[in-house]
Amino acid sequence: MTKQIVIDPIHRIEGHGKITIRLDKDGQVEDAAFHVTQFRGFEKFCEGRPYYEMPSLVERICGICPISHSLASAKACDAIEGVRIPAAGKKLRALLNFGEFIQSHSLSFFHLTSPDLLLGFESPPEKRNLLGVLEHHPQVAADGIKLRSIGQKIIECLADKRIHPAWVVPGGVGTALSKENLDNIAGLLPEAKTIVLRTIDWFKTSFEKYREEIKTFANFPTMFMGLVNGSDNLELYDGTLRYIDYQGNIVANQVPPDRYMEYIGEATEANSYLKSPFFKPLGYPEGIYRVGPAARLNVCNGCGTPLADQEWAEFKGLEKGPVLSSFYNHYARLIEILFAVEKAEALVADEEILNSKVRSHAQPNFSEGIGVVEAPRGTLFHHYRVDDNGLITWANMIVATGNNNLAMNKGVLQVAKHFIRNETISEATLTRLEAVIRAFDPCLSCSTHALGNMPLHVQMLSADGRLINEAFR
């Protein structure tokens, strides 16, 4: 007789999900899956809205990464208008994105993950939380709160609000940056750099303690995808798509984001609202790929900033080819915070960022637009079609977390097979099952928008239960 283990809800992730593990008659793990049980539906209810509302509307998808959605959306709207963004507007958008990376990655590393790292996977769950970190490692807790606050403050200085600011608009941004706020942002960056360097120094010297987790947290060959810039360096706002295989060979390069549909297919599974995107040339489910911090550092040839480049070289040195263990997403997150701080330093030193021309104006000139950015959790696609009046007739969103869906499922199975023996599931095993998901930092609130294309499987059975006929749709 088979047995099923359900972990519901999963803690310290953004949104609601559950894990199921199926055991065979001998009590060994047969299969495991990660299910997203909430539904948002933005793809559908955006239909009929004017395209220019979209950047503000889709910000409400998420309270953690609203900036990413507004940026991808605005880029799709830029394409519908066919406008060129003023240089200052583009730089302000990029700076806003760096603020979001700082705050979102800080949330993931310090608030959600550090309890596991600092207090141990074996520690009691009721103590393994931010309160425990506050009690035993107050400096780390203070660093996390401060660093996240700096990212949020950068967003506030630019866009007037920390969450859902509705400042990114088609054609640019809503308002220019004042000298006072530029100075405010510049004043925040030195402390951010100090904190992230201190954290990197601590974390990378502790890898030895996590050997089991490094070995089992989604440590398997897959492809990786991310944006790179014209110099093949790490890119978070613009650039082209690059795919590499598990050995580091470039599979697809300089793919213009508006050709994403040639490379990405979307599958659905019966037990989850989360899409399962796959690399089209390999098909489903073989076309599994990963996005996010480690994927980005795997696909690029460097960061292009001095300190982040040093860390990138160490990151790449962890394995001969691409870094396969998703545990290292935590390290990659810290490197990307450092990168964001260094890039922000360069932007606030650029006088052009104070230029008052921050937006171009136009009517819709095209019936379709695609916008792609790197969100903290990975590559984010917004794709809209509009009618002659500029009303949305169709919307498609491939959210970072969705890109990782197949890999998360496989990661859960890997951890389950490694740690579960003879139906025995310890607290520490449960913790690791949650933690492998947490390594991807999924944002489930962001990620479930398609309705109406769940697979349909009809079976016709005879009275004695024999299968007579079946149909799929």
Binding site: N129, L130, L131, Q152
Partner: protein, 156 residues
Amino acid sequence: MEEEEKIHIIAYGNPLRQDDGVGWRAAQHLREFFQDDPVEVIFRQQLTQDLALAVSNSYHVIFIDSEFGNTPGTITHRKLVPARHLSSTITHHLTPAELLALTGILCGQVPRADLVTITGAAFDVNEFLSPPVEAALPALFKLIEGIVNPLPNKSI
């Protein structure tokens, strides 16, 4: 004046929930009234951890909120001390007493603190205050002025 000599007024609530938005209304008024003083007025929908950094940089914090009760429009003034225990919900929001306790843990110092509330009558989805709460606003402002500056030299 040094940062440590600042007073922080932290008003909080949801402006889209009628009387829960009294903090929003108070913040708008008090920010203008105290613009020449070493008083920083902060408005938030809810209290979050990062506010501990602001609280640690002040010698006196005044929280403004609405509350449930029997007599709408009633203004209540309480002295606050840090909470003895923090709940696990602090990752999402804190009470004023929890925020003081968090400040103490993170920064090693806790300022003097007051909580001023108005009892609300309506918390439905609307952007206006109920008549008794609207009528109580001048008294609320007067009380805050008195707490900030016991020997006032301007009138609200």
